[in-house]
């Protein structure tokens, strides 16, 4: 942390002499501390999966969701500060409502991602605000087909076939690269997503976690919904099996 004590990290409106904005980099640290979230864009749909840490046994199962529905056909998963994720999802819903009310059509994932990126970028410009401490994966199926985008704290927005954010993103990315994403079905992708989340989970550091998974595909009539309980259970079972064979 060479940045500490230099004075260049006090505000998002100040560059360091070598052209970095430390507040944005710190925001990325907040993302790295959170459980992994991955998104897969496949032949006929998209899948989102999140490794959600359960930090207390007193929590109701399923509480503090990290996968959210933005519009009928768009879902998003966040890694980083949970509350920032909620705020950004509300913004995304407003953007969708705006499109629907102006043009009477379903917004594309690309458009909403771009708007969220502009929104995130605005929080890198002023000393009075802090950048969002989250990376967001937006996934959905629209008139252009399945799409998957990631919005980062810096305001960067990029489209992917497979995306991973959060603690285990490096390992998850190498696993995603092994897959032939454009040939998988959404069902197969759900199985792979569960396997990857179980694989990247580090038992030594965080014991308990919940697997959160949602998808958009023809099976869901193009709606963003949680993966059905039976499929989720099967995916988890197979993921655990694969993990045992792996070790």
């Amino acid at each position: 942390m060479t940045s500490i004590g230099t004075g260049y990290d006090l505000s998002a409106s100040t560059y360091s002499p070598d052209g970095r904005i430390f507040q944005v980099e710190y925001a990325n640290k907040a993302v790295e501390n959170s459980g992994t979230a991955i998104g897969l864009r496949v032949k006929d749909g998209v899948v989102l999966a999140v490794e959600k840490f359960v930090h207390s046994k007193l929590l109701v199962p399923g509480a503090n969701r990290r996968v959210q529905t933005v519009d009928r056909h768009i879902g998003m998963a966040t890694a980083g500060l949970l509350a920032d994720g909620r705020s950004v999802s509300n913004r995304a819903r407003d953007e969708c409502a705006n499109i629907r009310n102006s043009f009477r059509e379903q917004p594309t994932v690309k458009y909403i991602s771009d708007r969220l990126a502009l929104y995130a970028q605005m929080y890198t410009l002023y000393s009075s605000v802090r950048p969002f401490g989250i990376s967001t994966i937006l996934a959905g199926v629209d008139k252009t087909g399945p799409s998957l985008y990631v919005v980062e704290p810096s305001g960067v927005c990029l489209g992917y076939h497979g995306a991973a954010i959060g603690k285990g993103r490096q390992l998850a990315k190498t696993e995603l690269e092994k897959l032939k994403l454009s040939e998988l079905t959404t069902r197969e992708a759900a199985m792979e997503a569960a396997r990857i989340i179980y694989l990247v989970h580090d038992d030594n550091k965080e014991k308990e976690f919940e697997l959160e998974m949602s998808w958009v595909c023809s099976e869901t009539n193009g709606l963003h919904v949680p993966v059905p309980a039976d499929l989720l259970a099967e995916a988890e079972r197979k993921a655990k099996e694969a993990l045992e064979n792996f070790e």
């Binding site: 969701r65 959210q68 529905t69 933005v70 519009d71 009928r72 999802s89 819903r93 969708c96 409502a97 629907r100 009310n101 709606l223 949680p226």
Partner: protein, 266 residues
């Protein structure tokens, strides 16, 4: 000080530059005065209108009927308008009155449907909730002296209960086992009451369909703003089903025997 650089060096308002020789972007201090700023007019009458909607309870749920006509005054302007709209998995809304206001209502409902999906709280809106929402919207708008010019019938089936209610432009609400809006309130309602009241738990879907078809036929004979093309909505435990457009069989033989007006002298 004018803080908008686009205004600098330009006429302050259109009165100075009558023929608009300068491109003037509207800005807070030079935009045209609203011609209606001092007197605002709200909706005084509906423009493109739909006529009656009929709805009855039957053994398995609710059945509704409305024709496909949207009139422009007395002109039969649009003959392919759907006036029965499914909302979610449990509810159908039928609208008579101003069709543009109905389209606006559909937008409102679509927005709350998306908000409801986004909430992901395991609850969804049934006919009771939609009726309550619509009654608040309609009453709210009439209290602003800017009513949505509709009579709405909300029919639904959820959690084993059927529900049928009415909301209109004044915010009036009621529930009943037969409801008819518009002209149907005069012509069809007595027929429906006679056929349905007391038999709500006996009538089969086929009988209910027959009752509505007969009432729609009478309405087509009597109501000059109606059409012989209509749709039926059935809401049961199985969900919502809205039929394709149906054709009313009518017979006008009796017209020959009518005396007292028209071309014939005797």
């Amino acid at each position: 000080m004018d803080h908008f650089p686009a205004n600098w060096g330009r006429p302050r308002n259109d009165a100075i530059d009558l023929y608009a020789t300068h491109l003037l972007h509207p800005r807070p201090n030079n935009r045209a005065k609203d011609a209606f700023a001092d007197s605002v007019q709200r909706t005084q009458q509906p423009i493109v209108t739909g006529t009656s909607v009929l709805a009855i309870k039957f053994k398995d749920g609710i059945m509704m009927a409305a024709d496909n006509l949207a009139s422009y005054g007395s002109l039969a302007r649009f003959k392919d308008v759907q006036r029965l709209q499914a909302f979610g998995d449990y509810t159908v809304i039928g609208a008579s009155g101003d069709m543009s206001d109905f389209q606006f209502i559909q937008r409102l409902l679509d927005d709350i449907a998306v908000a409801e999906i986004a909430a992901q709280d395991g609850h969804d809106l049934g006919p009771v909730e939609i009726h309550e929402y619509m009654s608040q919207v309609m009453y709210g708008r009439r209290s602003k002296l800017d009513p949505l010019w509709n009579s709405l019938i909300i029919g639904g089936f959820k959690d084993g209960k059927r529900f049928l209610s009415y909301v209109d432009l004044l915010g009036t609400t009621y529930t009943a086992s037969t409801i008819a809006t518009g002209y149907g309130g005069y012509i069809a309602q007595p027929l429906l009451r006679k056929a349905v009241e007391g038999y709500e738990d006996v009538l089969t879907a086929e009988q209910a369909r027959k009752i509505l078809e007969d009432s729609m036929r009478v309405l087509f004979y009597r109501d000059a703003r109606s059409l012989n093309k209509y749709q039926l909505a059935t809401i049961t435990a199985a969900g919502v089903q809205i039929s394709d457009s149906l054709h009313l069989e009518t017979s006008w033989d009796f017209a020959e025997g009518i005396r007292g007006y028209g071309a014939q002298t005797q």
